[in-house]
Amino acid sequence: MAYKHKKIFVFILSMLCSVLSLSTQASTADHSQFEVLKGPFSSGQEVTAACLSCHTEAAHQVMQTRHWTWEYENPLTGEVLGKKTMLNGFCIGDRSNEAFCHSCHIGYGWQDNTFDFNEPTNIDCLACHNTGEYKKIAGMAGHPSYERQEWPKGSGKFIEAIDLIGVAQQIGSTSRETCGSCHFYGGGGDGVKHGDLDSSLVHPSRELDVHMASDGLNFSCSDCHQTDKHQVPGSRISMAAAPSGGAMMRGQHPSEYQNPASCQSCHGNDPHKGDLMHSSRLNQHADIIACQTCHIPAFSRGGVPTRMGWDWSVAGKLTEEGKPFFTYDEEGNITYDSRKGSFNLGQNVEPVYQWFNGDVSYIQPDSQIDPSDRVAINRFLGEPGSADARIWPFKRFEGRQPYDTELKTLLVPQVAIPNDTSFWYNFDWDKALLAGAESSGRPFSGHYDFVDTQMDWPITHMVAPKEQALDCASCHTSEGRLAGVKGIWMPGHHRQSLLDQAGFLLAGLILLGAAGHGSMRFVTRNKKSGG
């Protein structure tokens, strides 16, 4: 019965999806008919001005979003977080590299702190709403290329001018491609950062992602990240670790804020049904284990490797001719890059597991570190066994990156701007670190070394079909996946060894006694009575 209901539900959902996707094609507005979009446009800002002439509220909405501000206040500590200032173990930091990094900002022209966040036409509508043929170029501070030009300069490679009119007239909903153009490439390349987000999710198979499968439900990102007034919910920076609000209708506005990008927001709090033997047991598991833990058995399953380790300390080796070089693994993936250092890559990686209640603490540019230990750039918090936390899967990334040996702070190098201080162009750490510190207004003693770091990334995409979910014995065994996770008791994994030893010892003694007693009976079997 429940199975039948599920089929009907999936059918309705797919009908709904196809109606929705039809509606974008058969929209009541054909943007190519709009006078205002007939151009000519000399810049992205001019396109935005045209968009805003009809979409009067859009700019105000977008300016409230983190996609625009790259800023976020950690409710735990009050610290200002966000991409603008945060550190990571990959390309380390945005400051001093703005023109490069901000090809993933939804704006035009943010290359230093003179950028005007209150200018509506600085918003790049096309970044998220193009339906193809639009690309913001790394190094152009969020702009696409408006003319045919050699890029990077001196490389001998040319990029073509963007057709702003064509892109503007073909405007549409966000898509896996538009979201993915930044979110799949975080950390400087396809799949580098997250592990559960890479270009394999543009046309995923059912095995890779049961919701997004091109031949299945074909979800777009926004089917889960249900956006309201341009606010996209479900950021890793402020996660709902243990949602309990139950299933909700798309478009419903619950009185209390509820993250629609959670499993529970569609599947409810008791998602396992139709199995008399195990449903309620599995639903009880869901009270302490995040759905993702069982239903994403491994990440980077789509054929794109993710970066599990990055050692900046070996960057800067050059050929005898003084040229930077690459080395590759047997599959053709880069494992050493003179500009960046050496990489460890992983595919089909088993996550690590830890309690998480939605709170995360981050090492900030001014945080004191202890360089004698591996520095955890972020920590996912949560009391083992507490009701507001679940056991989550994570990608654990290990880095080695520069720090100030006097001030004991992590350093942000300038790497990506073509000038005489950036590391990628000069291979000189002193210059790169000084430029990075100056640009962010941070002190730098001039003394640096490299420190081992660690960073965790919650795994929540690439949900496998249920047949591929972890089975009981993945954890309920002596060396199971949750070995070492505190606050749980798992039959098959945990035991009281003293009780076991005593129990088997007693059973053994009984057997021995029985054998002795039996032997005595055998020996005395022919004895005369009373004898």
């Binding site: 089975d471 009981c472 009281q496 029985a514 009976r521």
Partner: protein, 219 residues
């Protein structure tokens, strides 16, 4: 004793052997869940264990009803009479072919050691296993009402399992100490205790009842 006596009625035998099978199944699957062996997978073991547990509970509900409606519970009232003699007989006397100190009748079919052992199973081991097992099974909804941690519930259940295992080993061995090694087992299957001249040929039990037995036939 020269007459067959009917000791175990049809229901009692059905109950005994079903219970035996289920206890063995539960021990086997339980130790698989525990991780002691891996003959069957964890999930299979859980399924088998849970089904067998429910069957045993059902069986026991019938058995408890039977005990009280037939008065059979009286067989388990402990007595110190002949207790020492029985222990001495097992430890020593039986090798010397001394007379069996206890005489079975349908009214008192268990010797004092059996009474204590079976009463222990009924009042200690079974309740310990059931209560800890049910709390374990329904932990997700019971955790708030139980003043124990899951670890303690699990340990109590394991303790019960070891007690049951030890009982089982003793019981199976002692089932072979009749006047022939299979005599007791045969009785448990047919219900009838064959006439025999007690455990040692030619020796009558040293028991006042032996001279004045009222053999009642149960059907």
């Amino acid at each position: 004793m020269n007459q067959r006596i009917y000791l175990y009625t049809r229901f009692e035998r059905f109950w005994h052997w079903c219970q035996a099978g289920l206890v063995l199944t539960l021990l086997f699957s339980g130790f698989a869940i525990h991780g002691t062996h891996a003959v069957i997978g964890f999930k299979t073991a859980v399924e088998v264990h849970e089904i067998a547990a429910w069957l045993l509970i059902t069986l026991w509900i019938f058995a408890i009803f039977w005990h009280f409606t037939t008065g059979q519970w009286k067989h388990y009232v402990p007595t110190h009479e002949k207790l020492i003699e029985m222990a001495r007989y097992y430890a020593y006397g039986m090798f010397k072919k001394e007379p069996h100190p206890y005489h079975k009748t349908p009214d008192r079919k268990h010797n004092p050691l059996q009474r204590i052992a079976y009463l222990g199973v009924k009042l200690v081991i079974n309740p310990l296993l059931w209560v800890s097992g049910l709390v374990y099974l329904f932990w997700g909804s019971m955790a708030d009402y139980v003043p124990l941690a899951l670890k303690q519930v699990a340990s109590l259940h394991t303790l019960g399992a070891f007690m049951m295992l030890c009982f089982l080993l003793l019981h199976v061995y002692l089932a072979t100490v009749g006047h022939t090694p299979v005599a007791h087992i045969k009785t448990m299957i047919t219900g009838w205790e064959d006439p025999h001249a007690d455990e040692s040929p030619g020796v009558e039990p040293d028991d006042e009842l032996s001279n004045n037995v009222a053999i009642k036939k149960h059907s």
